[in-house]
């Protein structure tokens, strides 16, 4: 009872603070909006013409209006990425655990998704996607958009605009923030597969909060934050604008939809967490058979569907780049399913449903950084290679690592993410059917240096993400262990987390 009371007080306080902050944000909205229009240096986000402001009396050419097709497309994509987490990822993971832990997996995914969404609005978006200050600006953004402050003045109907990858094409910044919120939330949910069937619910929530803040936000900022194409209006500005972008963006790392930010980041966190938590009781001795592969298949299929929103949506507009990313996401996944299935058939004797579903996810992961950065040949190659390599990731490599990564988050997401990130550097080459990349944002002209140079850049980005995520995960879990402890009790683990942590059972016949 006492516990309940303190929990209640904390919740009320939290919401009180949140509400006060949000109200403040609304009050400041109008001033921030007009401020953004005049002072370029204060522009908090990607966008240059940050406002579609009637009051600013800008000429129509200076304030691009979002295309309704782009807006509709991005709204749908955002909802599709939500579908990737709840229910798709939850079902994919849920089917793989024992029936006594089904609800705990669903619950962890559901609540993590919600928690991160709230944190995203409070401070996540601002820290990831606004311009930082001082030496840290390469690594983390600023506080201009706390509580989405200044992103819109709903009373006057003025919405700030976010840049895309095309000059003069914008979408609502609020829409961009919503789209990116789903990425942050999904990434945090991915980690849960590694710690399934044994981690305390309170520990999950605390860990996710810390990891989201200190690993997801900086890496998202490092890879994805830049000043947007419209800012590059004159060659004299290039150096100054580049210096404001994220560290890995400046380096030239290519990550279309989140191979580094999402999959390597989450996969490494999963592996480190699996080590720190220790193995499940009975691991390697008792059978830990997946309790419902039908749900796993359903989850994998919904992931494939939702991933079109994730990858093609990362183009930020409904154009060439989105179409290319869509087809690549389609094709690479199919290649990976075939690769995994036939390899398993040859090596292990039988082609399994779980193998096909795992292959699909491996292909999706690997094509993520490459989606809009490679052509059809790249999709064939990346999907097929990812299918083979990730099969090794969950068998041979898993045995070498000796960690109980329950649902193979590392073997599929980190390994697939690394394969995809490196091969993006290969197949982006126009010689291999790729589009190359923009070498000069002032003229928006594309070019290419060399495969070896780009792969080296990709490898450095991968290395930085691996180390960053690994260290943050270890420190965060150490703190969580001190504060609430990491694992449920041995008896609770044997009985199952559904009953002992959540007081309910998944199946009551």
């Amino acid at each position: 009872m006492k516990k309940l009371n303190s929990l209640l007080v904390t919740t009320v306080l939290l919401f009180g603070v949140a509400f006060a902050g949000a109200t403040l944000a609304q009050d400041n909205a109008a001033s921030a909006l007009s401020g953004a229009a005049s002072a370029t240096a204060a522009v908090p986000i990607l966008a240059t013409p940050a406002v579609e402001s009637v009051a600013a009396t800008a000429t129509p050419a200076a304030a691009p209006v979002p295309n309704k097709g782009d807006v509709a497309w991005m709204l749908v994509c955002t909802a599709m990425v939500l579908l990737m987490s709840v229910p798709a990822l939850a079902l994919f993971y849920g089917g793989l655990v024992r029936s006594k832990n089904m609800l705990s997996v669903l619950m962890q995914v559901f609540v993590t998704f919600s928690l991160v969404t709230v944190l995203w609005v409070i401070y996540g978006y601002s820290l990831a996607f606004t311009e930082g200050s001082g030496v840290l600006s390469k690594f983390i953004g600023g506080t201009d958009r706390l509580f989405l402050n200044g992103i819109a003045n709903v009373a006057t109907g003025e919405f700030a605009m976010a840049a895309t990858f095309s000059k003069g094409v914008v979408i609502h910044e609020m829409l961009f923030a919503a789209f990116q919120a789903t990425f942050a939330a999904l990434t945090c949910c991915l980690i849960l597969g590694s710690v399934a069937e044994r981690m305390k619910f309170s520990a999950v929530l605390l860990f996710i909060t810390l990891w989201f803040t200190f690993s997801y936000l900086p890496i998202a900022h490092m890879v994805w934050f830049w000043m947007g194409p419209d800012a590059y209006s004159d060659p004299s500005l290039v150096e100054g604008l580049n210096a404001k972008a994220g560290y890995l963006w400046q380096m030239g790392a290519l990550d279309f939809a989140g191979g580094t930010v999402v999959h390597i980041n989450a996969g490494v966190a999963g592996l480190v967490a699996a080590y720190m938590l220790g193995k499940r009781i009975g691991y390697g001795k008792e059978a830990m058979t997946p309790h419902n592969l039908t749900m796993t298949m359903l989850g994998a299929s919904l992931l494939w569907f939702g991933w079109f929103g994730f990858n093609a949506g990362s183009a930020l507009e409904a154009g060439n780049s989105a179409v290319l990313a869509f087809m690549n996401t389609f094709l690479a996944t199919a290649c990976a399913v075939l690769a995994w299935t036939f390899a398993e058939w040859m090596l292990k004797g039988k082609p399994s449903m779980l193998g096909a579903a795992s292959g699909a996810v491996a292909g999706l992961v690997a094509i993520t950084p490459a989606a809009g950065n490679v052509g059809i040949p790249g999709a064939f190659a990346i999907g097929t290679i990812a299918g083979f390599v990730c099969l090794w990731g969950v068998t041979g490599l898993k045995r070498l690592l000796k960690a109980d990564d329950s649902l193979d988050v590392f073997g599929v997401h980190a390994v697939g993410g690394i394969v995809g990130a490196l091969l993006t550097g290969v197949f982006v080459s126009p010689a291999l059917g790729g589009p190359g990349f923009v070498t000069d944002w002032v003229t928006a002209s594309t070019g290419f240096t060399s495969i070896s140079a780009q792969v080296w850049i990709q490898a450095k980005a991968v290395g930085i993400a691996v180390v960053w995520s690994g260290v943050v995960t270890a420190v965060a879990l150490f703190i969580v262990k001190m504060v609430v402890g990491l694992r449920v009790s041995e008896d609770d683990e044997r009985e199952g987390l559904d009953i002992t942590s959540h007081g309910e059972t998944a199946y009551n016949n």
């Binding site: 058979t289 004797g349 795992s358 969950v394």
Partner: protein, 112 residues
């Protein structure tokens, strides 16, 4: 009176029931069970994890019968449950001491 217990392959249940009905057995009790015999188990592979499944699903049927029906019942089960492959199961026969039909209170052979 005899109690005949047979452990058979699950998909043979309908044939066995039909065969027993045909020779006039009035009722049987069926239970889904698991066990192992000479058939042994099989292995299941989930990504990198290989599990040996020792216990295979079988169906256990129990029939209480009069002594004079024993040979017929044994033959009916043996024929209907037979596939000729390993794992067809076994028939066990016990002496049955007493039977009561709960509704009427009849006892012994009358209650069968």
């Amino acid at each position: 009176m005899k109690m005949v217990t047979a452990v058979i392959k699950p998909f043979k249940l309908d044939e066995v029931r039909e065969a027993l009905s045909a020779i006039g057995v009035q009722g049987i009790t069926v239970t889904e069970v698991k066990g192992f015999g000479r058939q042994k188990g099989h292995t299941e592979l989930y990504r990198g994890a290989e599990y040996v499944v020792d216990f295979l699903p079988k169906v256990k049927i129990e029939a209480a019968i009069k002594d004079d029906m024993l040979d017929q019942v044994m033959e009916a089960i043996e024929k209907s449950a037979n596939t000729g492959k390993i794992g067809d199961g076994k028939i066990f026969v016990f002496d049955l001491q007493h039977v009561v039909r709960i509704r009427t209170g009849e006892t012994g052979a009358d209650a069968l």
